[in-house]
């Protein structure tokens, strides 16, 4: 196999500083239209500034060229488990860019931003209704920040009750790394809970762990195994009876939209990654938005601000920012990632009550279809109906041919498909976590299944093909150990 990359060469990898030519400009600026003022004090001024000097056309070509080195949802099937890489409606981008939304300043008088506040108020209500919770704060700027907000509310709730010895949070061993990290940032100690052979919470382990020093349980439903815990009611009741808060990580909310309201199960707090479930484009790692929805007893602790609606005598509505009575405080300088909120609102409005349940139904059908067709080719660590994603294992290929989940992933790139999430959850050997989402057609899924079968066959016939993959990406496999050993983190002369 020819290993030479076809899309790139070293000259395309030159940085803007290396392309810089003294005297070139990338944009023009107006002349000074006020009389010249007194110079600033010299000792405050910098001696030099190293920045690129490139013409506009060069910048456009450079960045356009490197953009093509990316896989993206608009170009490629992107079944990256846990990340909900669904199609992002274009109209939502246009709407978020309307000057009435994009150009308003966060500190304008409330009377001048009633449209923005109204949208936020409606979105709060919609998210509370979809999740079955009592109220919403849109303030957290990402999923992990929503988790932190949730943990801070858990802490504040117990403290308000004078219950100060609750210093521990239970977290399943299948959870995302953000869960334990968020709990620790909120000042909790973490107790890891094991998962039973069926992929459910280990009830005996939970029984053993519960005591009067447990503040709450961070629970992802469905779990990161893509499985819905069949003991969920027992789990919720046990934790609540022990005085704990049930915190739902909404990372996998795409599995249950319109099908289940976590609030009805007894969840106290739930965050939603609006960028995943409600289509803010992922942008190479953000922006996100991590709205938190809560039950009645947690309402007073919501992060500030929330948007309230008032009406006057003539029934004119007026929307205002408000601070919940015992708020945990602010999560960012202003009121959350408004641009992402606009998109989430537009998405929910478009789908409405007919479309919202169909999202989860199709996501779950697509995942189970993959599971049913791939069975026997790859191992299924938990051979039961999955939800919106399916976790498979390449351990059979590793055993038979020495081929790993990494090799399968890199070979998928050659077929134009973004690899699934690899080696997660940590409790599954050679894990490949596949989340097709509802926005993929049966044809795309069928093609993916065929490719997975082909790759499994290649693993037996020609393992080096997989070991050396990818073959036609901008780079062959990159040396991550070198990068960590000798950090080269910025341009230098």
């Amino acid at each position: 196999m020819n290993n030479s990359p076809i899309n790139t060469n070293e000259s395309k990898r030159k940085l803007s500083m290396d392309r810089s030519v003294a005297g070139r400009i990338g944009t023009t600026l107006p002349k000074l239209d006020v009389p010249l003022q007194t110079e600033p004090p010299k000792d405050l001024l910098r001696e030099s500034l190293e920045m690129p000097e490139l013409s506009e056309s060069e910048i456009v070509r450079y960045l356009t060229q490197i953009s093509t080195f990316n896989f993206s949802i608009d170009h490629n099937f992107y079944p990256l488990g846990s990340c909900t890489m669904k199609y992002n409606p274009k109209v939502n981008d246009d709407i978020a860019a309307l000057p009435g939304f994009s150009a308003i300043h966060p500190l304008q008088a409330e009377s001048t931003v009633q449209g923005a506040l109204k949208l936020m108020h409606h979105l709060q209500d919609l998210l509370a209704e979809i999740t079955g919770m009592a109220g919403t704060s849109l303030a957290p700027m990402a999923g992990a920040e929503g988790e932190l907000a949730g943990m801070l509310m858990t802490k504040a709730y117990h403290q308000a009750n004078g219950d100060k010895k609750r210093t521990k949070i239970l977290i399943p061993d299948s959870a995302h790394g953000t869960n334990p990290a968020s709990a620790v940032m909120a000042g909790f100690d973490v107790i890891s809970l094991s998962t039973d052979d069926n992929g459910n919470t280990d009830i005996e382990g939970l029984k053993y762990a519960l005591s009067d020093d447990i503040a709450g349980f961070m629970l992802t439903q469905p779990s990161t195994l893509g499985l819905f815990d069949t003991n969920i009611l027992d789990v919720v009741n046990m934790v609540r009876d022990a005085g704990g808060i049930i915190y739902g990580d909404g990372a996998n909310l795409n599995a249950v939209l319109g099908k289940l309201k976590p609030g009805q199960l007894g969840f106290d707090i739930l965050h939603s990654n609006l960028h995943k479930t409600f289509t803010q484009p992922h942008g190479g790692g953000g922006p996100g938005a991590g709205a938190v929805m809560v039950s009645d007893r947690i309402l007073p602790f919501l992060p500030t601000p929330v948007v309230n609606r008032r009406t006057d005598k003539s029934n004119n509505e007026f929307f205002t920012f408000a601070s919940p009575e015992k708020t945990i405080g602010k999560m960012g300088a202003f009121h959350g990632n408004f641009g992402a909120l606009v998109r989430a609102y537009a998405y929910i409005r478009t789908l409405g009550k007919q479309g919202i349940p169909k999202v989860s139904e199709d996501a779950v059908i697509n995942a189970n279809y993959i599971r049913s067709q791939i069975k026997g080719v790859f191992d299924l660590p938990y051979d039961r109906t999955c939800m919106h994603e399916v976790v498979i294992s390449a351990r059979n290929l590793k055993h038979d041919n020495g081929i790993t989940a990494l090799d399968v992933s890199k070979r998928l790139i050659d077929y134009g498909i973004h690899p699934p999430t690899m080696y997660f959850p940590l409790i599954v050997e050679e894990a490949l976590m596949i989340e097709p989402t509802e926005t993929e057609s049966k044809e795309t899924i069928d093609e993916f299944i065929d490719i997975m079968k082909t790759i499994a066959q290649e693993a037996a016939d020609n393992p080096s093909l997989l070991k050396e993959a990818p073959h036609n990406a901008p780079n062959t496999r990159l040396d991550e150990a070198l990068a960590a050993r000798e950090p080269d983190l910025r341009w230098t002369k």
Binding site: S4, P5, R13, L15, S16, M17, L29, L32, V34, Q37, L44, L45, L49, L54, E56, I59, I66, N70, I73, C83, M85, A96, P99, G100, F101, P106, V113, Q114, I130, M141, G177, A181, M185, K259, L265, H282, G288, P303, G329, M331, A333, F334, G336, F338, L351, G352, K353, Q354, I356, P357, D362, S372, T385, K410, K442, N475, R477, P487, L489, R490
Partner: protein
């Protein structure tokens, strides 16, 4: 709405391609009869709850509804705006959005698979490089949520580095940032002490001193002296800065800053009612393994060609879990990319020129406002593009009247200084706009 018992709801949306036929075929292949057979793990009495949300609408109806909402807002641009306080209106060259909104940049995930994410990774590396060049620091991460959380993470990092549990914060740091700092630092039990200019009492218990330069009110602090004070006490200096000011002003590194954070919004990002923005985070080389957030490094592939990867990941939550330096997962990649394009586009000459335009126009406005009877501009310290005016009446009332003249006035800071209004002037404010502000402020006095 008719529904089919076997396959669920009959409803078409442009975002879900599977037809009733597709669904039926797939369910058959899976080996179940109905779609709800796939949801049987959910307790039956909780399945398919009533959903009280509005009906689906068409794209056309959506656009109309959203335009109606947007039109309820008063938009800077149609108005002359002098509002800053941490969110700034600067001109955004077309290429920023045109390039960043390319599908390849916009609809990709975190670059966990480096071979198919080189565009994002190289752009992040550019971002880190230019943040270092602007701030003068050794290393930068790929971005934080916003300036305020970048500051909070910086304070937590200073506590990790120094193993101390008290931070000292100048009272001229943005009140919004201080609020967020409280949220982040209260939980792990870190004490926040407020410090005042001329009354600084840092000691060996302080992990860091936090100073904003230019400060929240637009003015320059005596950073050299403050740097000496905190370093002599054995703590770190954290500087919050405005990247636009760094086009002409001395970078925080020159004063000995250990960690520098900033709001990146002013570089090519719409104010968008407060977000999404991007926090800049840079520090000295020796602290890289204590940094929060994503970091991109340059490396080689198996053919010896240059490429980029996420690196030093053992600091991060997905590897280190409860022992990670932070729970942060995102780097707000798209917004960081926008500010990267902005920095490349403005370049060496543009960044200096914009800073100078802001300086000149703000000083012109300040001088003119100071000439009006009853208004006093604070000029005891040098300032950049923002300054405080003591007004003859409540800024709230003044702003209300300014709106009639199509002016969005400055931010009301009367809670911090009597009848204070914090006015911001950037390159986007023409002389005509400034003169209109001045004449309007003057009229308000005459009207009484």
């Amino acid at each position: 709405m008719s529904s089919d018992k076997n396959t669920g709801l009959k409803f078409s949306s442009p975002y879900t391609p599977n037809t009733e036929n597709d669904r039926a075929e797939m369910l058959k292949a899976i080996g179940v009869n109905t779609v709800d057979d796939l949801f049987k793990d959910i307790p039956a009495s909780y399945l398919n709850p009533e959903l009280k949300i509005p009906d689906a609408i068409s794209e056309m109806e959506l656009v109309q509804e959203m335009e109606d909402l947007a039109n309820l807002n008063s938009v800077p641009g149609e108005y002359a705006s002098f509002m800053g306080s941490g969110a700034y209106k600067h001109f955004i060259p077309s290429i920023v959005n045109r390039l960043a909104l390319r599908s390849e940049f916009m609809t990709c995930y975190t670059p966990y698979q480096p071979e198919v994410s080189q565009g994002t990774l190289q752009a992040h590396f550019e971002f880190q490089s230019m943040v270092c060049q602007l701030t003068g620091m050794d290393v930068a991460n790929a971005g934080m949520y916003d300036g305020s959380t970048a500051l909070s993470e910086a304070a937590l990092m200073a506590c990790r580095v120094t193993k101390k549990q008290v931070v000292s914060v100048f009272d001229s740091v943005s009140p919004y940032y201080r609020d967020v700092l409280k949220t982040f630092l209260d939980a792990p039990g870190i004490k926040i002490e407020s410090a005042k200019d001329g009354n600084l009492k840092v000691n060996k218990n302080h992990a860091c001193l936090i100073v904003q330069q230019p400060n929240y009110f637009g003015y320059f602090e005596d950073l050299s002296k403050l740097s000496d004070d905190i370093h002599n006490a054995g703590g770190l200096l954290i500087v919050v800065t405005d990247p636009i000011s760094l086009g002409m002003y001395k970078p925080p590194a020159d004063y000995g800053a250990d960690i520098v954070v900033a709001e990146g919004q002013s570089m090519g990002i719409a104010t968008s009612f407060g977000g999404p923005y991007v926090g800049l985070f840079a520090c000295k080389q020796q602290y890289i393994r204590q940094m929060p957030g994503r970091i991109v490094g340059r490396t080689k592939d198996t053919n010896g060609n240059t490429g980029y990867v996420l690196t030093l990941q053992t600091r991060e939550q997905h590897i280190r879990r409860d022992r990670a330096t932070s729970n942060i997962c995102t780097s707000v990649g798209l917004i960081a990319l926008m500010s990267t394009i902005y920095m490349i586009s403005q370049g060496k000459q543009g960044l200096k020129h914009i800073a100078n335009l802001c300086y000149q126009k703000a000083h012109y406005a300040a001088a003119k406002i100071n000439e009006i009877d009853g208004y006093i501009v604070h000029t005891d310290k040098p300032f950049f593009k923002e300054f405080v005016v003591s007004c003859p009446m409540s800024p709230k009332e003044i702003n209300k009247r300014l709106l009639h003249n199509k002016i969005i006035g400055g931010v009301d800071v009367s809670n911090l200084t009597k009848n204070g209004m914090l006015i911001c002037v950037t390159e986007t404010n023409s002389k005509d706009e400034i003169d209109l502000l001045v004449s309007s402020l003057s009229e308000i006095i005459t009207e009484g």
